[in-house]
Amino acid sequence: MGVERELFAAFFQRNHLAACRFACALVGGAEAEDAVQEAFVRLHLRQRRLPAVENPEAFFYRILYNVCRTLLRRRQVRTTLVGWLGRPDPPQPPGAGLELSEAWRTLSPRERAIFYLMDYRGWDAAAVAAALGMRPATVRVHRHRLRGKILEWEAES
């Protein structure tokens, strides 16, 4: 139990900041910390499995990616309901921090995750595929499509 506790604490310290930035890239600054905390809670509930996992980072990022997708889905439902009810958007929490740019918003969560992990973090397609639960070939196809979009943005800006 103590070993697991130490392992988890070390894993947390090693990945906390990077996970926050990854979540920020997916859901924005306002909910990034909530997503990261939820992902770490779920990892804590599975911490006995952690030593046996081949790639703990990929395991954790899969959890975080799923949490972020759930948050985005909920946000979409909330926005739809607010639109139907004709009420104004609820105010953003203070200190929301970094928000997503318009160009970044046009990407799907999967594309954001792939782009972020491959281009900003330097992961290879196999690691990204393990983290996001898809095949490396699929990751490469997404990456190839993304390259076209990014070239368009650069041309526009």
Binding site: F12, Q37, L45, G95, Y116
Partner: protein, 98 residues
């Protein structure tokens, strides 16, 4: 490429978040254990109730419509049935040839 999200700094210090994560995980473990205990208790209670269930009630007497005998009708024997009706009355049902 430079990470544009590297400017993001979480408002919660890591130690505080780690403590919150542990607290929340323990709370969920307790909650899950409680649910599992409740389900197991219900299963045991159901098993005990089934094991000690009362004996089934005896079937009602079958004297309502039972008697089938041969009776003379002219020069033939016909089967008939006696039906007990409410109020102590009895009806005789005779099956005739087509």
């Amino acid at each position: 490429m430079n990470d544009p999200f590297s400017a993001f700094a979480p408002a919660t210090p890591p130690d505080a978040m780690l403590a919150a994560v542990r607290r929340e995980a323990h709370r969920r473990r307790r909650q899950r254990r409680g649910v599992l205990t409740g389900v197991a208790g219900l299963a045991v209670a159901a098993a005990v109730l089934w094991w000690f269930r009362p004996a089934p009630a005896p079937l009602p007497p079958t004297s309502d419509a039972v008697l089938v005998l041969a009776v003379t009708s002219g020069d033939r024997e016909m089967p008939y049935t006696l039906l007990a009706l409410p109020g102590g009355r009895t009806m005789v049902v005779v099956r005739t040839a087509p």
